[in-house]
Symmetry: C2
Subunit: 347 residues, 2 copies
DNA sequence: CTGTTAGCGCGTTCAT
DNA sequence: ATGAACGCGCTAACAG
C-alpha cells in the first residue's frame, strides 16, 4: 500500500465522531507543530510572542481543552489526589476535606473522593481502584488498614497521608490527634468538676468508641465508679442523642452526673431529652460533646465540647504533601495537632 | 546496535524507577502476551481457564494494579464522573452527592468532586479543569451557568446533569425542583394558618434567596402585608438564625407572625432565640424551615419544614446517566421531583 | 482462544 | 525558538 510514497506516512483515521480538539489541531490552525502548542501551555516563555498569540487565538477559536488523561500518561504525573473518608455527610470529615481540597487546588491538584463507610474491606477495594488512577498521592482517614491495603499502598510508591488519628509509625505521613487522650482529658475534666457519676453515649465511628472507652476507663480508675455506656452502631443524630439519654435515665437510673458524648450532635440530643424531662443542665446532668461543631456554642445551654481543628488537619496535610512533592528530604512523618476542651455551660 | 537481529526490535528502556507493574510484565510472567492479560481482566470468559489461572497468579505475585489512565486514553472512556457543588460541607449537597456516588460506584464509576462556592467565575474555571479529565459525564448544581461555561459543556459533547433546581430547557438532563414553588407553597401555608404578619431569614445560597423572594411576594399578594427580610451573605448557621430573629424582634418589632427560614439550621437558631426571649413557638411566633434535616423533627419544638428528597435527586441523576450510557434513545431531559411541607409543631 | 498491529494525545528527549 | 521521533500502558480491530 501507499506504493508511491517516498516516506512512510502515518495513517490518519477519518475523525468522524469528534473526540475533542487536540493540540495537533490547534497547532495546525496556528501554523505550528503540536509540541509548540504543548510548550505554549506549559511554559509560554519558551515560545515567541508572535506564535504564542496565534496559538492562543487558535485555542479560543477551537475551544480546545487539554487532555489531562494523555498528559498524565505521558508525564506520569496525574495532578490528582485521591481521598478516602468514612462519610462525606459527616461534617467532621467534610470540613477536613474542604480545607485540604482548597489548598491542593491552589497548587493545581484535584481531588477524587470516595466514601468507605467504616468498612475495612470496602476501604481495601476502594484503595485499589483509586490506585488504578495513578494519583500523585492518596489521603486516608485513620490509621487502621487491612494488611493487603498496606501492601498495595507501599507497593504503589506514592505518598500516603493518614489523617484524623495519630500513630508514631505511619505508613508515610500522618496528621491527627490521639483519640484516647481526648477521652482521658474529658475524664479528668469530669473529676475536677467533682462528678462522681458518669455515662457515655457514642455512635458510628470506631474512633468514637475509642474515645469513649478511654473516658470510661480513666473515669473508673480515678473514681472507682463504673460508667454506664450507650452505643449506637449507626451515625450520630440528634434522635440518637435523645434516645441515648432516655435509656440512661430509664434503664440505668442515671439522674445525676456527667455524660460524655462522642459528638456534639449526640450531646445536643441528650440535652434536649434531659431538659424535656425536667432535669437541669448542668445542675442535674452535665453533658460534654465532641467536635465543637458550628452550633455547639449557640444552642441552649451552650455545649462544652472537645475541639479539634478540622481545617488545620486539611491544611497541614496539604502542606506536608506539597513539601514532599517539592522533594523535601526531611519529610514530616507524624504531626499531632492535639485538641482542646472548650468549656461552655453544659458541663 | 543490535546488528544481528533479523527483525526490528523495540527498544526496551532500562526500567530503573519502577513506575508500577504493567500488563506486559504480568503477561511475561504468565507466559502470555499483554493483550491476553487485558482480556483476562475485562472479560475472563474470553480466556481459557488455564491461562486465566496463570494470569491471576502473576497478578497476585506482582501486586499488579491496572493503569486506568492508559485504559482511559485508549478507550476514551474514563469511568470518571466529575461533579461540582457549591459547598461540600453543606449537608444538602453532601447528601445528594453521596446518593449519586453510591449508585455510580456500583456501576463502576468514580466521582471527582469540586467546590465552587456559589461563584460563577469559579465554576467556569472548574468546569474547564474538570473537562480536561475527560469525564464520561459531568454533574452541576443549579441551572445558571456562564455563557462560556455552557459553550464548553456543549462542545465537550458529554452528558451533563444539572441537579437541585429545575428548568424546562436544561443543557442536557435536569433533576430538581422549583425553588420558587416552595416559597409560594409556604406563603399559602402561612395564610391558611391564619398568619397576618410574616418575615424571612435567609442565608448563603442564591436559590435560598429565590425561595425567600417567592415567599414574600406571594404572601404580600395574598395578604397585602409587606414582609420583613433578613439576609446573610454567608452560609446558614444556628448563630445567624438567632441573630436574624434578634434583628427581626429588635429592629422590626416583629413579635407575632410566621418566619420563613431558608434552611432548618436558620430555623433552629431562630427558635432558640425567640424561645430564650420568652416568645411561645408557635403561639407567638411560628417558624418554618427548609430541608427537613436530620435534627428537624427532634428538637423542641419539632420544626415544620419543606422537605426535598436529597437522596432521590442523587439516585435519579445517577439512573438517568446510566440509562444514557446504555444508549437510551429517549433521554429523560427534565424531571421535577417536587417537595413536600412537613407539618410539625413550629408552625 | 490467542497474538499482532495500530493508535489514544500528550510530554520528553534530541536535533536544528 | 521550533520540530521530529518516540513511548507512556492500554484498548480495539483484525488475523490466525
Amino acid at each position: 500500500m501507499d506504493g508511491g510514497d517516498t516516506k512512510p506516512t502515518k495513517r490518519k483515521p477519518a475523525r468522524s465522531a469528534s473526540r475533542g480538539v487536540t493540540m495537533e489541531a490547534v497547532g495546525r490552525m496556528a501554523g505550528v507543530s503540536q509540541v509548540t502548542v504543548s510548550r505554549a501551555l506549559s511554559d509560554p516563555s519558551k515560545v515567541s510572542a508572535a506564535t504564542l498569540r496565534k496559538i492562543n487565538e487558535a485555542i479560543a477559536a477551537t475551544g480546545f481543552v487539554p487532555n489531562a488523561i494523555a498528559g498524565a500518561l505521558a508525564s506520569s504525573r496525574s495532578k490528582l489526589i485521591t481521598a478516602l473518608v468514612p462519610s462525606i455527610t459527616n461534617i467532621v470529615y467534610a470540613a477536613m476535606i474542604r480545607a485540604f481540597s482548597q489548598r491542593m487546588r491552589e497548587a493545581g491538584y484535584q481531588i477524587l473522593l470516595s466514601e468507605t463507610g467504616f468498612d475495612p474491606a470496602e476501604e481495601e477495594r476502594t484503595i485499589a481502584t483509586h490506585l488504578s488512577r495513578r494519583p500523585d498521592a492518596i489521603l486516608l482517614t485513620g490509621i487502621h488498614h487491612s494488611p493487603q491495603a498496606r501492601r498495595m499502598l507501599l507497593a504503589s510508591g506514592i505518598p500516603v497521608v493518614e489523617v484524623w488519628d495519630f500513630t508514631d509509625s505511619p505508613i508515610d505521613i500522618c496528621i491527627g490527634f490521639r483519640h484516647v487522650e481526648t477521652g482521658r482529658a474529658a475524664a479528668e475534666f469530669a473529676v475536677e468538676r467533682g462528678d462522681t457519676a458518669a455515662a457515655t453515649i457514642s455512635a458510628g465511628d470506631e474512633r468514637a468508641r475509642r474515645r469513649k472507652a478511654a473516658f470510661s476507663e480513666h473515669f473508673t480508675r480515678l473514681t472507682g465508679t463504673p460508667v454506664a455506656e450507650i452505643d449506637f452502631d449507626e451515625m450520630a443524630t440528634v434522635a440518637r442523642g435523645r434516645k441515648g439519654m432516655a435509656r440512661l435515665i430509664d434503664d440505668h437510673g442515671f439522674t445525676s452526673g456527667i455524660v460524655f458524648c462522642s459528638s456534639d450532635v449526640l450531646a445536643h440530643g441528650a440535652i434536649i431529652e434531659a431538659t424535656k424531662r425536667g432535669f437541669a443542665i448542668p445542675g442535674d446532668i452535665a453533658v460534654i460533646g465532641f467536635g465543637d461543631q458550628e452550633f455547639a456554642g449557640d444552642v441552649e445551654p451552650p455545649i462544652t465540647t472537645i475541639k479539634v481543628d478540622l481545617e488545620a488537619f486539611g491544611r497541614t496535610a496539604a502542606d506536608a504533601l506539597l513539601r514532599r512533592f517539592e522533594g523535601s528530604s526531611t519529610p514530616d512523618t507524624a504531626i499531632d495537632l492535639g485538641f482542646e476542651i472548650i468549656r461552655r455551660q453544659s458541663a
